[in-house]
Symmetry: C2
Subunit: 282 residues, 2 copies
């Protein structure tokens, strides 16, 4: 296997090429389409293609949110295929479905998301344990971002519980981060840590100095993009993947929606790139 076939290496190349930590989340809601896009399949596809065209040189990744496509009903699968076809090779694609299961169910998830749709990575929920994560990381060319400390207030309910792990008390999210590092024998395990918890993001980064971290929660949820990339970057100055969805997708509801999305993506990219450069200079 060439280095460029490994998931983590490909993500790094995508980030270097676009000089960008920005991932645009495709939470595409037919009820929120801008002027000139109809709410049928044709209009939704037009919107998605328009967003990708307007931003694909500014991002390292796109993250289609599977729930939004499922809610499109019988057209959802075809629209998801169109979406993936519109994304240039070299830009990382992350299926956000928070999957995680065992045996034949996991095997069917992998078939659907990686083999048939061709995603590079997906988000995975670790609650069921290693044998529910392993199938998603069996192929080093495909990555799994394991939920660790999520961006929502309720993440405290279980993720912050102090657990006895190797005779030490640590919060559950830290146990998950440590396990993910151990699981990363093929360079394709990542973590999900919300930008709304910058201190915990820094802690997780210290525990997992080389893993990609997908960072949601910037924008509507209150996280800060610059702080996210500063706290989340790896030793190599990259591998913080900062997701922004609505703030880019719905930057304008008017006929200038493509220009507005591009401007917002460029602004976010530049803010984060400046943070990357200043940190790298330290």
């Amino acid at each position: 296997m060439r280095p460029s076939d490994r998931f983590c290496d490909r993500l790094l190349i995508a980030q270097e090429r676009a000089r960008s930590a920005l991932c645009v989340g495709l939470d595409v809601d037919p009820r929120r389409l801008p002027a000139g896009c109809t709410t049928d399949r044709r209009g939704i596809e037009r919107f998605i293609r328009g967003i990708v065209e307007a931003t694909d040189d500014l991002v390292c990744a796109y993250k289609p949110n599977l729930a939004f496509f499922e809610a499109m009903g019988s057209d959802g699968y075809a629209i998801l295929q169109t979406t993936l076809a519109a994304i240039p090779k070299g830009v990382t694609t992350i299926a956000d479905g928070k999957r995680g299961d065992i045996g034949t169910t996991a095997e069917r998830n992998v078939a659907a998301i990686f083999e048939q749709l061709g995603f590079d990575a997906m988000t995975v929920n670790p609650y069921q344990g290693f044998d529910s994560v392993q199938p998603y990381i069996a192929d080093p060319a495909r990555g799994a971002f394991v939920l660790c400390k999520t961006s929502n207030p309720g993440s405290a309910d279980f993720q912050d519980l102090e657990c006895r792990d190797e005779d030490t008390m640590r919060p559950l999210y830290e146990v998950v981060a440590r396990r993910a590092v151990a699981w990363n024998t093929q360079g394709n395990v990542g973590l999900v840590v919300g930008a709304t918890y910058p201190a915990q993001l820094g802690e997780v980064r210290a525990l997992a100095p080389d893993l990609p971290i997908l960072i949601p929660g910037v924008g509507t949820q209150g996280g800060d993009a610059e702080e996210a990339v500063r706290a989340g970057m790896a030793r190599n100055g990259r591998l913080a993947v900062v997701n922004v969805s609505r703030q880019v997708l719905y930057a304008s509801a008017g006929p200038n929606w493509q220009e507005a999305a591009r401007a917002e993506a460029a602004r976010l990219r530049d803010v984060m790139e400046a943070a990357t450069a200043s940190r790298a200079r330290l």
Copy 2:
């Protein structure tokens, strides 16, 4: 709201009517269809309708496994619709997708699974905390089975970790069970506990005497149906929902597949009903 509109009441009625704890898991794999079913949409639908026709008076519920339908590609959604249309009203339908998310994503999950497809319940992963479960239990007519102690060996990795909860050390799955009881203000929260862990199933049942418990892991994974219903039944002698998938679906690969599925479902139903009756007599 009439009592019969509440999820838990409807499940109980379904169990009483069929005198059955059996849930048949629809893990439909086109590569495993029996004689006479082609592997295209028509053949898959024929198989599913045939299984439902052969078993619908013997079960309290069907549990379509969403990953299997997703892996069917662009036909998957339509086949899932056909499946739901084939299931008689009054038999509970559980979407097994182990979803769980927040905000607009959860809202889209709910739209897809409950509103559009019309499922009665879904399986939900609690790792993200209460605000990632709440949207799925907002409507008392729809239920959520929250993953608690799953049937796989890896469930020990996190679910068995001893956590500090209200100044007491308890395994994480027990914390989840206690929270689920607290969340159950509308009679529509259930739990998932694997038949492979009968002792823990009994513990969870003691903590949650009135919640429905979905019990996978019987058959291929090694759990015992009789023991599952004995350890899992609620105070009212019901609300253990014991899932069996392959053992029923693929009971025969020959032309007698419908008869074989019915015979296996009847055998399981009767074994579990005998356990229910003997326990109820105690």
